[in-house]
Amino acid sequence: MADNKPVLEIEDLSVAYVTGSGLVHAVNDVNLQVYPNEIVGLIGESGSGKSTMAYTIMRLLKGDAVVTKGRVKILGQDVYQLSKKELRQFRWSKMAMVFQSAMSALNPVMTVETQILDALLSHRKDMTKEQARARARELMELVRIDPKHLKSYPHELSGGMRQRVVIAIAIALNPALVIMDEPTTALDVVVQRSILDEIRKIQQEVGFAILFVSHDFSLVAELASRVAIMYAGRIIEVTPSDLLHLQEKHHPYTEGLLKAIPELTAEDVTIQGIGGYPPDLQDLPSGCAFHPRCPYATDICRRVRPEKLAVGDKLIECHLFSEKELVSHV
């Protein structure tokens, strides 16, 4: 993959929300690349900054959020250097997003067809209405919905079908990158699985990169090839997803999350939560933000923020690993 140019490059990105009582640092010094045809998972709990990341990449941040540092490049283009008009064209044709709630992403008073045509015709001036109709049918078949539902309104479709329509609209213009923000969280487990299978299939057929934002570890581990884990606005680990198990060394937070999920088929089911509660983003702990909850925390963790280190195929931001490195080299 190294010979490929990344589709998405996030460089030293920081984002803060301006509130009456000061700045809330939602994203801090994040670096991440996503390569063509790659599925990268972005995992975090509420308040970790994962959704803010997604909105920042799409340049969809609302008025009270500001990018305080860094760059977001898609296909080499800095998204924040585009004019409003350029951005409108860029969005949806180069990058698209699938939101968690399909019902609020779709317009309840427009048929599915009208909404797909809308997306197509507003971006492709060269397209005739007939061509757009044909493309709409093609898209419906791609997401495995009977094209007769083009005439349906969103409320006439099941939750799973609505989310498929949203995916169809997202890929309508063949974007290079699709950001999916918890696209299956509101769905039943069987429907969730069938949609994930479809996402994987379509992605292989059509070819685009996915940044898959989720809080669900086991789901992301199955879908993505690489996984980035966020805590308190920082990416604290990036790991190949097939190493995402307890036989491997991980950041203590990753380890904690892995131990917190009851395993379905194991002989003996034991679980262990992570002590304490997520940090206040307005008043982040000193040093490593995870130190108040970390069972391995030492003095240095309270004082100094750890650097990112390469540990095998993983990138980990933790003193535990730097100390070990030191010890083994002395």
């Binding site: 809080h215 999350l257 917190a260 379905l264 088929t265």
Partner: protein, 325 residues
Amino acid sequence: MSNATKTPATGTALLEVKDLVVHFPIGQGQFIRPVDRVSFSIGPGEVLSLVGESGSGKSTIGKALVRMIEPADGSIIVGGRDVTHIRGREIKEYRKEAQMVFQDPFGSLNPTRSIEQHLAFPVRKYRANKGVSVSEQIDELLTKVGLTPVAETRRKFPHELSGGQRQRVAIARALAVNPKFIVADEPISMLDVSIRAGVLKLMNDLRNDLNLAFLYITHDLASARYIGNRIMVLYGGKVMETAPSAELIKAPTHPYTRLLLTATPGTRHRGPLPETSNSAPNLLEGRKGCPFANRCPLVTDVCRNEEPPLRELSSGHAVACHHPA
């Protein structure tokens, strides 16, 4: 297994549900049956996990059990007393035995009341005359659910707490009346992963320490297995399969249980799902056959015409299927 207590024989059951039916009118004299002749029992200190998709009837069963809704048919016997059709004052009395914890810890607490006020109300109303002061009892409840330091927690309002802490307050409030069992309806599904384990463990501890029984309602098989002595799988308002937890996961016999297991993340299943469509079950009263028939890969004519009875395969393992594996 960390929690293998024996299922008590019927007769010693704390709670006995027989042929429970809940129906709702949908106009023109027609009814839907979200719960259709469901039977089960729960012993003291036992946890029964009720697993199903949305629309399976699992939450409706929970609400019927604490008598937030009245069943149309069947019976609910708690501690030897029939509570199926009790009314008014009797329901209030019954709340001392049966409590409920809801999915949304943001919606179930009053934003204008402090945590202390939340707990003082049920403590005063239901157990004030025990020789222990209300204040001490509140402290005791907060300690029990791990919300220490108690002095600090008491003063707080719901918005100052995280989701996990709020859910602990909801559990403390349920405990305030000294119930015999708690219906916990998806109590962890809105919580962060790192927090879920703590709440599950708390429920496990309460079961062990207080001999408290739970009906744990969930869509997640992994947590159902962790906390439940037994798992009961529901579909279209009917019990599809019920077995001791580990057995249900290891040796599922109903095609729907197998579909659920296949679809659960973490099983690394590849290839098509064992279903023929993803249509929703028919809940209309008077439907024929097995509710899963139109999705089932093993379907035959008999499945469309005759409802399969729940048959016991081995001790404690029963399945409602014409073609079990």
